[in-house]
């Protein structure tokens, strides 16, 4: 499983211009794109999903060309087989948990799960331990449960890759720790490669096998975190850099820097 991204896009808003020029390749189970807000990570993720169209470039997922400006290829979002979990999960407020999960595989004239998909819906709800919430509406369930519904809804179509936009930002800090582990379990269970974007170094520490650091619309560096010694794309050891990256931006409630063990070091 390999993702190739090479895109350019100029975004304009309120008279300000932002140039996105991102290029990276990754082929791990969990890759993390890390960057501050405004670094272009959301724009990158939206381009991969087909929600925004880059000015030029190329996007290849698992050997399938999703976008290639030179060849005039732009596969519509609905045909990309890309799963996208929104930051606040974007569960449909007018549909129950069960109807949310059934929507991707239901025929357009059905709201309730059709007979041929009911079993799949039920199985997925059981896997995510939300079977008892099948008839609840999104506003009636907790943040962690919403994330599970969002994942189940996306995974029911067996996407080639799962894109997650700040998956833990909407959760309270204590819950984040548990949901990170759940996400890794989900990855292992469904064998679906994930690309996570985040501004939280703890997400990098807990999840990343491959790290892409974005800064002002460009890739600052990519780091292979699968095992020490960690080296960047030029082969330079970067262990200290990752530690500093984590130390710089993660502080506990007293403002003291916290260092977090990297996933691969556990």
């Amino acid at each position: 499983m390999r993702i190739e991204v090479s895109i350019r896009k100029t975004l304009r808003s309120k008279g300000r211009e932002f140039h996105l020029e991102v290029e990276f390749t990754c082929q791990d189970d969990v890759s993390v794109v890390f960057g501050a807000s405004g670094s272009g990570k959301s724009a990158t993720l939206r381009a991969i999903a087909g929600l925004d169209r880059p000015d030029s470039g190329r996007i290849v997922v698992d050997g399938r060309v999703l976008f290639d400006s030179a060849r005039g290829i732009d596969v519509p979002a609905r045909m990309r087989s890309v799963g996208y979990v929104f930051q606040d999960y974007a569960l449909f407020p007018h549909l129950t948990v069960e109807e949310n999960v059934a929507l991707p595989v239901n025929p357009w004239w059905r709201r309730r799960p059709a007979r041929e998909v009911a079993k799949r819906v039920q199985d997925l709800l059981d896997i995510f331990e939300i079977g008892s919430l099948a008839q609840s509406y999104p506003w009636q369930i907790s943040g962690g449960q919403r994330q599970r519904v969002g994942l189940a809804r996306t995974l029911i179509r067996k996407p080639a890759i799962l894109l997650l936009d700040e998956p833990f930002a909407a959760l309270d800090p204590l819950l984040r720790i548990r949901m990170r582990q759940e996400l890794l379990n989900t990855q292992w269970l469904f064998k679906v490669p994930m690309l996570v974007i985040t501004h939280d170094p703890q997400d990098v520490a807990a999840l990343a096998e491959n790290l892409v650091v974005l800064r002002k619309g460009r890739v600052e560096r990519t780091v292979d975190l699968k095992g020490p010694p960690y080296r960047d794309e030029k082969g330079i050891p970067v262990r200290g850099v990752i530690r500093r990256l984590l130390m710089d931006t993660s502080v506990d409630s007293n403002g003291t820097p916290v260092s977090i063990p990297l996933r691969a070091m556990r």
Binding site: A49, G50, L51, P76, A77, R78, M79, R80, S81, V82, G83, Y84, F86, A90, F92, P93, H94, L103, P104, W108, W109, R111, Y137, P138, W139, Q140, R153, T154, R157
Partner: protein, 224 residues
């Protein structure tokens, strides 16, 4: 007071207002969706044109309709020669007049409702593999529905009270095109105060009921 003097115009009014609401809602939702979800030159102009029936005097509107669908009008002549249909002085003509007068109420409500739908839900549905038709039917329309329904109810109330344009297009033929509001006018003119009183009360009750119901529908749902 003969009950036919009340029942006949009441039933006719409900039929005319019902059909007018159906047409106004169908077209109002379509045009509002197109305007809300696309950017094209002249969009603001189209928006203004669609709202025009709300501010124009109904008699002026009625005159326009007469010019268009009258026997010598371009649409009227075509209908007459092709299908042998005449709309002037028929209850179907009253439906057209009421639908056009009531149209902006649905159109405005639907446009506001569509703009209030977070585009993220539509994007989510697209990434989940749904076609544009399925996105509209399963996501956009249900989320905008309370607002559209409130607009449709207002349109129904407006169509029930329609007087000017209906009189111009369909006239006041008792039992055929004489709706409640026209019957009230005729009753007052003829000095039948008891009939007029009763018709006025019936109309008021129906209109108040609709306003209260549509106000309830406009209250936010999905709060949590």
């Amino acid at each position: 007071m003969a009950s036919t003097e009340v029942m006949v115009p009441l039933l006719l009014t409900l039929r005319v207002a019902g059909w007018a609401t159906v047409f106004a809602t169908a077209f109002g939702v379509l045009v509002a969706y197109a305007v809300a979800r696309s950017r094209f030159p002249g969009r603001d102009l189209l928006d203004a044109a669609m709202t025009l029936p709300m501010v124009m005097p109904p008699t002026v509107l009625g005159y326009y309709i007469l010019v268009l669908v009258g026997r010598r009008g371009p649409i009227g002549a075509w209908l007459d020669s092709t299908f042998g249909i005449t709309l002037i002085f028929t209850w179907q003509g009253a439906v057209i007049a009421s639908a056009i007068v009531a149209f902006p109420l649905v159109y405005k409500a639907a446009a506001t409702a569509f703009e209030g739908v977070d585009p993220q839900y539509e994007q989510a549905a697209r990434v989940l593999g749904k076609s544009e038709w399925a996105v509209f039917l399963r996501v956009t329309l249900p989320l905008a529905w309370p607002g559209i329904l409130a607009g449709a109810m207002l349109a129904f109330a407006r169509a029930m009270g329609e007087f000017g344009a209906t009189l111009m297009v369909a006239g006041s033929i008792p039992g055929k095109t004489q709706t409640l509001s026209i019957a009230v006018y005729e009753a007052v003119q003829a000095g039948k105060d008891d009939v007029a009183n009763f018709l006025v009360i019936v109309t008021s009750v129906v209109c108040i009921t609709i306003l209260v119901a549509s106000g309830k529908l406009l209250k936010p749902r999905y709060a949590g």
